[in-house]
Amino acid sequence: MTCEETRILVHALIDGELDAGHAREVEAHVAGCPGCAAQLHDYRVMRQALAAAALRHQAPAALRARIEAALPARRPVVASSRRSLLQGFAMGGLLSGAMAAGLVVFVMRREEGQGILGDVVSAHLRSLQGDHLIDVQSSDQHTVKPWFNGRLEVAPPVVDLTAQNFALIGGRLDYIDGKPVAAIVYKRRAHVINLFVAPAAALVSGPEASPTIEQVQGFNIWRWTHAGLAYWAVSDINADELREFGEKLVAAINGGA
């Protein structure tokens, strides 16, 4: 392999885009060529520095809100505001971000019964975007639980599963089907698990239900109805791990109550 060829292919090597055969050839050439070796070194350093340098921009919250506000919502009652929003959008942001953000809550957080799982996923996704994952940050269940007092009609059980490798990181107030729910946030390695808890009567029909897992839009959702409360745990961890989370949660709630 020549230096010219190598100097293109080192990049594919660094980027993991080279098949094993070519990777070996490039490495063999570099081993015997100080010039190419120096370049490979520099490019590796450069790639690491680029990765470490926080060069990715975060979209402003107002921009996100304007885009969300421009998308249609289901309820006909908001159709007219939607149309005017869309118009504002097309005309290049006549609408102020704050006003749009207020409307987002109004037009987005309403769904019919069968849309609840979709709503759960949307709430999960929203929590991962922007910086609104938690309102109360604490790994202490005795801090998180009282925080919900007065914010919700029910007191959701907050259990610490850190010992079971599901670290409690905090809680926030969220909305499912337009109704306020508790969102208790756990982490498994780098993955966020949102556990939504709400009065069962408001959101699900039917009696107690044993835990089930299903997949919605690529996310796993674990659901359970127990003692008048409906639970949804949603995450991108695999179904087995989420099931394990559910089992630990059920055991802690049954045992601790």
Partner: protein, 189 residues
Amino acid sequence: MAGGIEGGDADRARRFRDAALPHLDDVYTLARYLLGSAADADDAVQECYLRAFRHFEGFRGQAIRPWLMAIVRNVCRSEFARRAGTASDLADVAEDALPMWQEADSSPETALLRQRDSQAVAALVAALPEPFREAIVLRDISDLSYREIAEVVGVPIGTVMSRLARARSVLRAAWLKSQNQPQFEERSL
């Protein structure tokens, strides 16, 4: 009945929102580096998502991130086309019009070792001429695969590879040059 249409719209909007909004930062980042200003990037990204939603029905199967980034890239390019005088900035560059290798010499003294602060690195990337800046943003900042970059930029994978090689070569030369200028020196304490 109107309710049905609204329902269909809402489902489409929900699917679009869930699929497209998680990539907002990547789309915005590309627009920022292509256009330079935050306000212009805002407008371009809004326009991108509006267009994407309009054509979402026709979108099937492929990964959505490169699709969105191709759209925002087109929006940015037409924005440049509209501004007289700067139209050439994002114009396609003939591949062989660029010098093939302008590698800076390598020796122990010129080795690129230093960890640079974010601002200095961002300035180096921002100063890159197109299409190199775009290549670096897509690969090194947004972590797209070569195949995805080919899709966004609309060129064969071979072109992606040679463009990226040149982009990094130009960036490395600028990097070496800046680290040898005292005002850019960073004290290690």
